[in-house]
């Protein structure tokens, strides 16, 4: 897809509440929006015929025919009819040279399933014909009169509100209903307008909860479909998964009864089928089925406590960055965009904390798999309404006032090493004698990207935690020096003598200059034993 102008669907402006939670999913060439009481459909496949109200509409799957004379015919496979029975949506196709439905010829139904009344619908009662796309309310199909026996068939009802939605095995699945927070609702397979439960067939709509027999069930916070095989229900304090279809031999099983999920967007899959989610004690990784493992427990043991987030005021978004082979975890305060983010590198299994400008706080993220590699990237939706992507070519962050592709906000980046014990004997000190820093880029210019200058700070202390506190605070270093990049330069460009003595040291390398980036090839530290700790 090339660069283009984003266009709003007619009738959609003002129809959803962006201050409220919203989820959406794709199904049957439509997009279903789940935004509380705003349940909407963006339809990209059907043609719409507007008529005066029908007494009895055609059923889903019935064929409408319009004889336009001269051998021209227009046909429509009925997909959906609105509640007022004034709008008929369906897939249109033509024969004999016809190119569209008209308002000047009658339309008849084959009454295959339901009896349309009146049949035919005379031309005088056909108002307009509208091509795709369309925007309309997501409701259940109106009652129809069955041709076989004249009985009335009903299609149930949607929940009053829902905030979670997904597609599983061709079924639309809703949850997050404040009136029934433990409940999930599955529509009929491949027919998202039928929610008449207990239909007693393999595609029957099903509603239910996740619990042992007789219990109400846990509050559902996330719907996580995995192919057509499993649907994971992320709940407040437990995790469940459905295997197969509930109306045809499926089952619901426990994934973990001690771990819950943070929210509806706090999960993602990597390229190997592993599910990552932000749970009770941090970042978890699991297979489906499997046993979730907290992978942040060692490196970030107090992740949840340190972030101190509340699902009612924060949003945690996770996405798999296929290009950079890592998981982007974005923790954003909904009110002002204050954010704390982590990039989890799948190769090194390390966490890289990141903080961005408040306006760049992420509310949503998705990997856009465009054919054009220039547009194939992880996209993040930000607080200021812009959609951004990570661009290695820029050395500064993009601000709201910046044009696309331009960055003016300095990136303050750093890495820390330590605490490092300076003497074999923990009761004695050591003395740093020299430091040599080889930055990336080889020689100046050349084929490799040149690093910019790097600031080196050394912190010393008599105990490990003392050094750690100084490192975290970043103030009062024992030694500080800017090493000139790139590569290994002669003289003091890359190496210098320094006098820093202590039982423990920590080293910080950083750069916070706008329009600069840096990388390190080697850090060589030389030291000698010193006397007892003073």
């Amino acid at each position: 897809m090339a660069v283009g102008t984003m266009k709003a669907l007619a009738g959609s402006i003002g129809d959803i509440n962006t201050t409220d939670a919203l989820s959406m999913f794709e199904a049957l060439q439509k997009v279903f929006i789940v935004n509380g009481s705003n349940l909407k459909v963006a339809d990209f496949v059907n043609t719409k015929i507007t008529v005066t109200a029908l007494t009895s509409p055609p059923a889903h799957g019935d064929i409408l025919t319009q004889d336009q004379t001269g051998g021209k015919y227009a046909y429509m496979v009925v997909d959906f009819v609105n509640t007022a029975k004034t709008l008929i949506y369906g897939y249109a196709y033509y024969a004999g040279g016809a190119t569209a439905f008209t308002t000047t010829h009658d339309i008849t139904s084959n009454n295959a399933t339901a009896t349309m009344d009146p049949n035919p619908k005379i031309a005088a009662q056909i108002t307009t014909v509208t091509a795709k796309p369309h925007w309309y309310d997501w409701t259940t199909y109106p009652d129809v009169i069955l041709t076989a026996d004249g009985s009335t068939k009903t299609y149930g009802s949607l929940p009053n509100k829902a905030y979670l939605g997904c597609l599983y095995r061709g079924r639309p699945v809703l949850s997050g209903d404040p009136e029934h927070p433990y409940q999930w609702y599955m529509g009929r397979q491949l027919f998202p307008f039928d929610f008449a439960y207990m239909a007693n067939d393999a595609g029957s709509p099903v509603a239910g909860g996740n619990a042992d027999a007789g219990e109400i069930g846990d509050i559902v916070r996330a719907l996580i479909p995995y192919k057509d095989d499993y649907l994971v229900f992320g709940c407040a304090t437990t995790m469940w998964y459905m295997a197969g279809d509930p109306a045809e031999g499926g089952s619901i099983n426990e994934l973990d009864l001690t771990v819950g999920i943070f929210g509806g967007t706090s999960w993602c899959f990597d390229g190997y089928g592993n599910l990552y989610f932000f749970g009770t004690n941090g970042l978890y990784k699991t297979t489906i089925p499997g046993n979730p493992e907290c992978i942040s427990a060692i490196r970030l043991p107090k992740l949840v406590a340190d972030e101190s987030v509340d699902p009612s005021t924060y949003r945690i978004t996770m996405a798999y960055d296929r290009i950079r082979n890592g998981i982007e975890i974005c923790i954003t305060k909904l009110a002002d965009g204050t954010n704390s983010n982590y990039f989890y590198d799948l190769q090194t299994e390390g966490f890289f904390p990141e903080t961005w400008a408040d306006e760049c706080g992420v509310y949503s993220s998705i990997f856009y798999g465009a054919n054009d590699p220039d547009y194939r990237d992880l996209l993040v939706g930000c607080k200021d309404g812009y959609i951004r992507k990570f661009n290695e070519a820029l050395k500064s962050d993009n601000d709201s006032a910046d044009d696309a592709g331009i960055g003016t906000i300095a990136i303050d980046s750093k890495i820390g090493y330590g605490p490092i014990q300076m003497n074999e004997n923990p009761g004695k000190e050591g003395k740093l004698t020299s430091i040599e820093l080889v930055t990336a880029g080889g020689g100046i210019d050349g084929s490799e990207s040149d690093s910019d200058d790097v600031t080196c700070k050394i912190f010393v202390g008599t105990s490990a935690e003392e050094v750690l506190e100084k490192l975290v605070a970043g103030t009062t270093p024992q030694f500080s020096r800017v090493f000139t990049a790139p590569g290994r330069g002669r003289g003091n460009r890359s190496m210098c003598k320094c006098k820093a003595k202590g039982a423990y040291i920590a080293i910080e390398l950083s750069n916070n200059t706008a329009a600069q980036s840096w990388a390190v090839e080697q850090l060589l530290v030389n030291g000698i034993p010193a006397g007892r700790i003073k």
């Binding site: 099903v206 499926g250 619901i252």
Partner: protein
């Protein structure tokens, strides 16, 4: 003496087996027993048999005893099926879903309704068979009755044939009748010929002349008329 009596609905079968009435009826043929005859004849169906047939029909009709056990059996089977299905859903973790609510309906659609349909089909077939049997019995009885009546007529005909053959006066009187006719221009009226005092219809007679023959002649004249 033999009398021929009958009610308004009776017709003598003496001229042949051409019945004018198809209604079963009772009449007295002879006061004395004749060949193959009996004092009173009644049509066909044994009341005991008909009663049994009616009871069978009543059994299969709505409200009869047929099919009562089926409903009870279905209720019990539904209870067991729903319980078993519930156990299965609990094992599958689907106890908290609408699948449990659909178990009873599923049983009715897959077991209950077909079973009831079979019961009704059997009921209809049985009733049809019984009604057909009843019709056959009645028809058979009717035909048997007619056959018996015909046979009785035949028997009577056979029995009375010698008398019927003496429609003409005995030879000993013929001559006298003829001579009377010849001499008086009459017809041997004194001997039962035309103009005689004897009635053309059934009535009194002089000896030597059979009233049956006279009645036969009267019938013949009526038909010709």
């Amino acid at each position: 003496m033999a009398y021929l009596t009958g009610g308004a609905a009776s017709r003598t079968p003496l001229l042949g087996p051409e019945f004018r009435s198809v209604q079963p009826f009772t009449r007295t043929i002879s006061t004395k027993s004749g060949r193959g005859g009996s004092p009173v004849q009644t049509i066909g169906v044994d009341p005991a048999a008909m009663s049994a047939l009616q009871r069978a029909i009543a059994y299969y009709k709505e409200g009869g005893g047929y099919g009562k056990g089926v409903e009870a059996a279905l209720r019990r089977a539904e209870t067991k099926a729903v319980a078993s299905g519930t156990q299965g859903l609990v094992s599958a973790g689907l106890a908290g879903t609408t699948m449990i609510g659909g178990l009873g309906k599923k049983f009715q659609e897959e077991v209950g309704m077909p079973a009831r349909a079979r019961v009704e089909e059997t009921r209809a077939q049985a009733l049809a068979n019984l009604e057909t049997l009843k019709a056959q019995i009645i028809q058979g009885a009717t035909e048997a009755d007619r056959q018996r009546a015909f046979q009785r007529w035949q028997i009577e005909s056979q029995r009375l044939r010698p008398s019927m053959m003496s429609v003409s006066p005995r030879p000993s009187l013929t001559k006298a009748a003829l001579s009377e006719r010849d001499t008086s221009g009459g017809s041997g009226a004194s001997f039962g010929g035309a103009g005689s005092s004897y009635s053309d219809e059934l009535g009194s007679y002089k000896s030597g002349f059979s009233p049956i023959a006279a009645a036969a002649q009267a019938e013949k004249r009526r038909r010709l008329a």
